[in-house]
């Protein structure tokens, strides 16, 4: 099993071949298609992430010692971005998820999505993913 750091490095590597923004987004759109989709029955308002211009549903479950995340969005780019986060954080321990600094976001140039004005709610997505992990850690 790869560590969070290893997966982040893998993603940075994949993105390093693109120097044009449109190519980067083309790739993010492709990644959106690989997103582990949330079960339709979990697409409820309480799983909707606040602060997004597009709708994002996130579901967290614990399997063994690992957190498993599934999600969906009505916007394709948002799907790609949450797909990247899930690829990094799913199947990791809650402790590691809570500690992850997710530096890869800056490295692949998506930091502008972290600004509080950005409406896709990347900040809210990260918060939700971490909250789910922290809830498991503190629940022990």
């Amino acid at each position: 099993m790869k560590t969070i750091k290893e997966i982040e490095e893998e993603i940075v590597d994949e993105f390093s071949v693109y120097d044009d923004w449109m190519d980067k987004y083309e790739y993010i759109i492709e990644l959106g298609k690989e997103l582990p989709l949330i079960d339709e029955k979990y697409k409820t308002d309480d799983r909707l992430i606040k602060g997004c211009q597009s709708r994002v549903w996130l579901h967290a479950e614990k399997e063994g010692g690992e957190m498993v995340f599934t999600a969906d969005s009505d916007a394709i780019i948002t799907k790609g971005i949450i797909g990247l986060l899930i690829r990094v954080l799913s199947h990791q321990s809650p402790e590691d998820i809570a500690r992850a600094d997710l530096g890869f976001i800056k490295e692949i140039g998506l930091q502008e999505h972290l600004s509080p004005t950005r409406a896709n709610g990347l900040v809210s997505m990260i918060k939700q993913l971490k909250m789910a992990a922290i809830a498991e850690v503190s629940g022990k």
């Binding site: 923004w21 987004y25 083309e26 916007a75 780019i77 409406a119 896709n120």
Partner: protein
């Protein structure tokens, strides 16, 4: 395009228009949110802070007198541009939102339980929420003029809504989300016939057409400086003097008083009664400059040019498969809200941004309009007189590329 209006010469007045976004030429189509500033306004900001920055209305020293004069000259100029001869009727505020809140609070104090306030289905949140707050405070009743699918108001329904219970009608002159120009003159006449006062939200008007407040005969009119090529953080509230005199002050503080003792304070005269504290002095002066700039332009030619631009852009957008335009009023300004079937506005907006095109996506602070059309939001291209057909072509190319990636 119009021969009398030279858009390329005008563009030289706006330095930001030659900026780049990454390596792409900026195409700025978010004028409904805020407009860009001409050099004359930028120079005025520098001149104020480098030559005569001082507090106004109180200093005996030279700089304070110069600043006070400039601030009051700006008020007089803005008044005359809006067709108002009495400058006391022009209040400086923080913007449209602040202007509306002032009226909702202060005029609101004169209202009582059961009084009715009428707004419309196409209001910006800032012309909805202050009235809801007033209704909660005073037990007034909020009524909403319905809208047709075309994005036009149901004027007959409005007429039937008016009664002696109606105390205030607060409507937008031009819809920021749909571009609809409402028949405000008629609406004001009808409101007056039942004794109601009218507030016009003119946040989207002055930048597109000449507005003559006295001819319109509204009782209040609110606008924002930054949407009319001036600075942010400053705006205007026009109010009829007789009404402003009846209304209690909105905020207490310096500048708005005549005498203060611990037993009783008396208030200053208009316009100062409603301008507590040190105002945005540079903002007011530079908003005056923005109006001075607009005054040099031929508004008739601009309106003609903008409607040609609107028609051109609408035609080109409709070439895109799955295009749906929201807001098809016969009488509209150069604002186009749209969606492309099978794509999300957020995705399209993100990709356009990467191609240098600045549009707005989302609900445009008009969630009830989005609920009306049962959509989460739109992509909105809002033009100013400095935009060109070539820029529209750039947007169309960018849209085609984005749609190709997303579908």
């Amino acid at each position: 395009m119009s021969d009398v209006f030279d858009v390329y010469a005008i563009r030289n007045d706006f330095p930001i228009l030659s900026e780049k976004v990454g390596d792409k030429q900026l195409v700025y189509f978010d004028n409904g949110a805020t407009a860009q500033k001409p050099q004359i306004v930028l120079d005025a900001i520098t001149a104020y802070y480098s030559k005569y920055n001082a507090n106004i209305h109180r200093g005996v020293h030279h700089l304070s007198q110069v600043a006070t004069q400039a601030y009051e000259d700006a008020r007089a100029l803005i008044a005359s541009c809006l067709g108002v001869s009495n400058s006391n009727e022009i209040l400086f505020t923080k913007g449209t939102t602040d202007s509306i809140n002032l009226v909702a609070f202060s005029f609101g104090e004169l209202l009582k339980e059961g009084d009715e306030i009428i707004i419309s289905a196409m209001e910006h949140h800032s012309n909805i929420v202050p009235w809801q707050m007033l209704c909660e405070r005073k037990g007034c009743v909020l009524r909403v003029i319905p809208m047709f699918e075309s994005g036009e108001l149901d004027i007959e329904a409005y007429r039937e809504m008016l009664s002696e219970r109606t105390k205030l009608v607060a409507v937008t002159h031009i819809s920021n989300a749909l571009g609809t120009i409402n028949p405000v003159k008629k609406m004001i006449d009808w409101a007056h016939s039942v004794g109601a006062k009218v507030l016009i939200d003119a946040a989207q008007s002055v930048q597109h057409m000449s507005v003559d407040v006295k001819d319109m005969d509204c009782d209040f009119l609110a606008l924002s400086g930054h949407k009319v090529f001036g600075p942010t953080g400053v705006g205007i509230l026009y109010g009829k003097e007789e009404l402003l005199n009846q209304m209690p002050p909105y905020q207490g503080g310096g500048d708005m008083i005549a005498t203060v003792t611990f037993e009783k304070t008396t208030y200053n005269t208009l316009p100062h009664k409603f301008e507590a504290g040190t105002p945005h002095i540079a903002g007011g002066i530079c908003l005056g400059k923005a109006f001075e700039y607009i005054k040099t332009l031929d508004m008739g030619a601009i309106q003609k040019y903008e409607s040609e631009l609107l028609e051109y852009a609408t035609g080109r957008l409709l070439e895109i498969e799955g295009m749906r335009i929201y807001g098809e009023a016969k009488n509209k300004t150069s604002v186009i809200s749209f969606l492309i079937e099978g794509t999300h506005p957020y995705d399209v907006g993100t990709l356009l941004d990467k191609m240098g095109i600045a549009v707005r996506t989302g609900h445009h602070c008009t969630q009830p309009i989005m609920d009306f059309y049962k959509i989460p939001g739109t992509i909105r291209a809002s033009f100013a007189f400095y935009n060109t057909k070539e820029e529209v072509d750039s947007m169309i190319n960018a849209l085609n590329r984005a749609v190709g990636m997303l579908k």
